[in-house]
């Protein structure tokens, strides 16, 4: 159960970051957001 919640949390935060990436008008911020989502995606897929 706790693992399902963890995955949902990872997906939720990843979606928020992607949303912010698309909403931001600063390229530098977009790049930072793009890096931030990588570990969250790996965790969502339980790869590490």
């Amino acid at each position: 159960m706790i693992l399902i919640l963890y995955r949902l949390l990872c997906v939720f935060i990843a979606l928020i970051i992607i949303w912010n990436m698309f909403r931001s008008d600063k390229t530098q911020e977009k790049v930072v957001y793009s890096f931030l989502i990588i570990p969250l995606l790996l965790r969502a897929f339980l790869i590490k």
């Binding site: 698309f22 931001s24 008008d25 977009k30 793009s34 990588i38 790869i47």
Partner: protein, 374 residues
């Protein structure tokens, strides 16, 4: 609504690509290295046959049975209880691929904690694999972590309460297989693996159980046989014999008040004579410089050489480091000595194992010489 949409899309694709590349690297940790059935292997089973709940989980692993034609006792060997103690796992593989049993039985589990091999310690920068040249080509082996992969058991509690003693241990020890014996069938993942191994010892009526480990060279418990009190006579005689052959393996009593370790719990909860062997592995210590494949294989490091010159190590730091050859040779020759002494002490349960290399042979010819072509 979405400024610079094209940049966002490109960056998103790049992120997905990078996640794919990194993910593939992580997934390689789950790939299991081949272990070749040697001439003495009569059948291969699964650990889950001792606890069906482990079937199709990361806790299931291969069990190799080497049965002799003559009756005798049963010796059980496990490597990879700690997946970062490579010489233990590799020594077990050497047994599977070389040993031929004439009398009695030998049961070997080279990757006791399979889950531990599917991750590496965070922040340590260690390689996930190492390679050994053999006569039939290069073989690869995983270098894992001391603990179960958190993917398989998470989260750690604030305090780990060992079952059944109730002893309190540090949080992360809950994923340490060698703090989880004797285990329980309905416990956490690591406890279930420990329970299956304990059940193997019980059901197969293992007379002698040997757990192959490695330790930090700055730890006093190294190059030694840790022995349960019922195995004291056996281990003492083996230690003396090994010493006379130039292989120093000190004797350490299994502490009664530190629970969860195989030599303590298998000895207390089963009929087996339980021992654990430790060789010195520099990559496990904090003193080393770069942690790479060479360090796993040669154990050579300038900081260790300096520490040795100041008398800070508990193992003789050889001119050429603490090579895999030295460590595997030490384990295999100690195994042979324990089995020989056991057969002398209990002739009605004699176990005769042939075709294993000696300490000197492994050191001279290299480990690869005794690994088969997959």
């Amino acid at each position: 609504m979405f400024p610079k949409l094209h940049i966002s899309l490109i960056l998103l694709v790049v992120s997905l690509l990078l996640a794919g590349i990194f993910g593939r690297d992580f997934m390689k940790l789950h790939e299991r290295e081949p272990v070749v059935k040697g001439p003495g292997v009569t059948r291969v089973g699964k650990l889950s046959s001792y606890l069906p709940a482990l079937k199709d989980t990361a806790g299931d692993t291969d069990v190799y049975y080497l049965e002799g034609k003559e009756p005798g006792g049963t010796v059980f060997v496990m490597g990879g209880v700690h997946a970062n103690e490579s010489a233990g796992m590799l020594s077990a593989v050497i047994l599977v691929e070389n040993a031929v049993v004439n009398a009695g039985r030998l049961i070997v589990v080279p990757h006791a904690n399979e889950s531990g091999f599917s991750n590496t310690a965070p922040s340590e920068g260690v390689p996930s694999r190492f390679h050994i040249k053999t006569t039939g080509g290069t073989r690869w082996f995983r270098y894992g972590d001391r603990l179960t992969n958190p993917i398989d058991q998470w989260p750690d509690p604030e305090v780990y309460v060992h079952y059944p003693s109730g002893q309190l241990l540090s949080d992360f020890e809950v994923r340490n297989l060698d703090r989880s014996f004797p285990g329980r069938p309905n416990g956490n993942f690591t406890e279930r693996v420990a329970y299956a191994l304990t059940e193997l010892v019980r059901k197969e009526k293992a007379d002698l159980s040997i757990d192959l480990h490695e330790a930090r060279p700055m730890n006093p418990i190294v190059n030694c046989i840790i022995t349960h009190e019922r195995a004291k006579e056996l281990s003492s005689l083996a230690s003396i014999d090994l010493d006379s052959k130039g292989v120093q393996m000190r004797l350490e009593p299994s502490p009664k008040k530190l629970r969860g370790m195989s030599h303590r719990e298998l000895g207390d909860h089963t009929e087996t004579l339980a021992v654990l062997m430790e060789t010195g592995n520099p990559i496990q210590d904090k003193l080393h410089a770069r942690a790479d494949e060479a360090l796993i294989l040669t154990g050579k490091d300038d900081f260790f050489a300096r520490a040795a010159s100041k008398g800070l190590l508990y193992v003789p730091y050889l001119e050429n480091g603490l090579s895999m050859e030295e460590r595997v040779g030490r384990n295999v020759s100690s195994f042979q000595e324990l089995v020989t002494v056991y057969s002398d002490l209990y002739p009605e349960k004699k176990v005769s194992v042939m075709h294993l290399p000696s300490y000197d042979q492994v050191r001279e010819k290299g480990v690869g010489q005794f690994l088969l072509k997959p």
